[in-house]
Subunit: 279 residues, 3 copies
């Protein structure tokens, strides 16, 4: 898990500057059968001072995920991971202590299954394959009302991606079939590294929300300091605007970080600065 | 704790076939005094995709139990274990990934104090004694409204059993005094092992719910494969029907299991199949 | 954390004698940077059979606290510790299994920021300094409605103390500025040890709640047995009464204790007796 704390600024909000903190505890349990099957289960506890809904005693563990792995295959049951969320390059150019809205992640302008550390997510099944240069991920979540989970979302989603890595380049293409018109239909990413620079081109067809494209990059400027940033264009007619963000990460060693960033999110400025540590 | 996931079938339910999963995390804390008293406390977290009421953020830890042990005696305070629940032979013949309703447990046709991993149970006291061939368990739970616990059950229960093991045979007899007319008054079990077969005869007097009887058995058919099953008759006039179930368990080693079962529960068929692992 | 269980008596309450138990689980996560900064985060889970609001599934983890330390300095963010709560001598003379209301803690007759293991507390910042004979603690909690935490308390508090230890004597003086008229303005404590006796004089100016004073002491009567007690006078016109309590602790070794106490709390008798163990 991790802990983070710092200051968060949101231009025009009722309270523009607030103390930001989050505690995430990851509980992972595993077992292995005699024939080499790996079993696992994971729950995550998340408490967040900043955002409503994570206050004490309303915070809690998320819905568990279970998996069994053998060789290159993993089958996951329970809370859905979501192929488009876990696609290589999806989070390229992420900035700041908090992600500042993660406007670099293009499928968020549409919609897709995504794993949530702080809520119930969607119940479904993932199949993952990773071998050599190839990666494949299929995810499926049924109409949630058919699963006796108490969830009321009747949407059904099937998604997948294929990725291929060749020397310093990684290409990934993903697609999704969904009952929701505004959900993402396709995502393509192409990433490359040149010395200290890693850059990723991204494109998404967000169905009724039109398409979006952008570039995200990270540059190592010192032995322990990294600059990240992105520029994305969301053609959703309701938005039709540009998002641009830049941030830095200074690694203090031992899993501790000083991080901050600033983003122009379709005309609204957000910024954060703080300390984070992994455990 | 354990994790389990698979498929659950319930004939005639609104959603007959659903994805089944459960995550149980057991937190046990112990200490020992210089004079050899063992202190302990335990809470359990349980999240269940299948059943309503265990969805994320409504799932939580159960009510704790505390105990102190010295030699053959253990005194337990907090969530009541319940003597009839912990009686030898009570769960003989249990089947499947989920227990499929545990219709082999005869006191469930009546009522008794029982420890719950996923809810508050009842607050009370247990005294356990185990020495040589003898086992004794007394449990007491007062009117819950007198305990400032927020629980509203005014029932008061005192229960106990005595068990004796002789070579390959174990006999147990238990009784309960309760304010509820439908609660179980008495339970008797007689279990024996013959080679690969373990079989248990069971009888319960469930007070106003009349009596019930049955047989449960487990047979080891291979080096790592077990077949279990039961047939029980519930004479409760509102039911007056037979329950019959059969299931298998294949042990994959390292605390991992493939399990499944099917039950005819008074005319309704239920079945399950899945993987389980302990940690 | 710890577990405790026993019996609690509250004269005149709807249920005078109840089974008392509490389970507290402390989860602490830490990391250290290459340059020697210590990072930490802590959450606590508390379930209490006795008190309303801690029943199962309404019990939960408290709001997290985060800190970073270097040399004698610690900065803490998240749930506020509160300088007056952590002042030396504040809890002198505490008795019993449960504290029996902690009427020896004089600021509780007024008001101050205080860390809570079982609830949200208040979000703020603490700065602590400890070096040689000196201790300093400053705490600040802003108007909670400006922090997007969902808390509705508009009070703002800044508090601090300075303490100095000289041979067997420790002196501490603290003050607080608050928007609430009934909050504590100042606290002074003076503690000394003479052989087996430790005694503390205490005074608090509780603002609109007038002042309070008292003495708390602990005496070691045997190799593992301690007697504690206090007498305090609360001049709050609405009370204007004396509180007197006495208790014992017998240490069983290995972090296990037998504890009990009795208090005359402004005319109401409360008592408890039970076992506690640390883990």
């Amino acid at each position: 898990g991790y802990g983070r704390f710092g200051v968060y600024y949101d231009e025009g909000a009722a309270n523009e500057t607030t103390i930001e903190s989050r505690f995430r505890l990851v509980v992972t349990a595993t077992a292995e059968s005699d024939n080499g099957l790996s079993f696992g289960a994971q729950i995550r506890y998340q408490a967040n001072e900043h955002a409503d809904g994570y206050s004490t005693r309303t915070a809690g563990f998320n819905t568990p995920r279970f998996w069994v792995s053998t060789g290159p295959f993993t089958v996951s049951v329970g809370q859905t991971l979501g192929a488009l969320e876990f696609m290589p390059g999806a989070y390229a150019g992420s900035i700041g202590l908090t992600g500042l809205g993660y406007h670099n992640v293009l499928y968020t302008y549409g919609g897709a299954d995504a794993y949530s550390s702080g809520s119930s997510g969607r119940q479904g099944v993932d199949v993952l394959y990773a071998s050599g240069n190839w990666g494949v991920h299929l995810s499926y979540s049924p109409d949630q009302t058919t699963q006796n989970t108490g969830l009321t979302d009747t949407n059904e989603r099937i998604a997948g991606y294929v990725s291929y890595t060749m020397a310093n380049y990684t290409f990934a293409i993903g697609g999704q079939s969904s009952d929701a018109a505004g959900d993402t239909d396709a995502v393509v990413t192409a990433a490359g590294t040149w010395g200290n620079l890693e850059a990723t081109l991204m494109y998404a067809d967000n169905g009724a929300n039109d398409d979006a494209y952008g570039v995200g990059a990270t540059y190592q400027v010192g032995s322990a300091t990294y600059i990240s940033g992105y520029v994305t264009q969301n053609n959703d007619p309701a938005v039709d605007d540009t998002y641009a963000g830049i941030g830095f990460q200074h690694r203090l060693g031992g899993g501790t970080f000083l991080e901050g960033g600033v983003v122009d999110a379709a005309g609204t400025t957000k910024a954060d600065l703080g300390l984070r540590f992994s455990f």
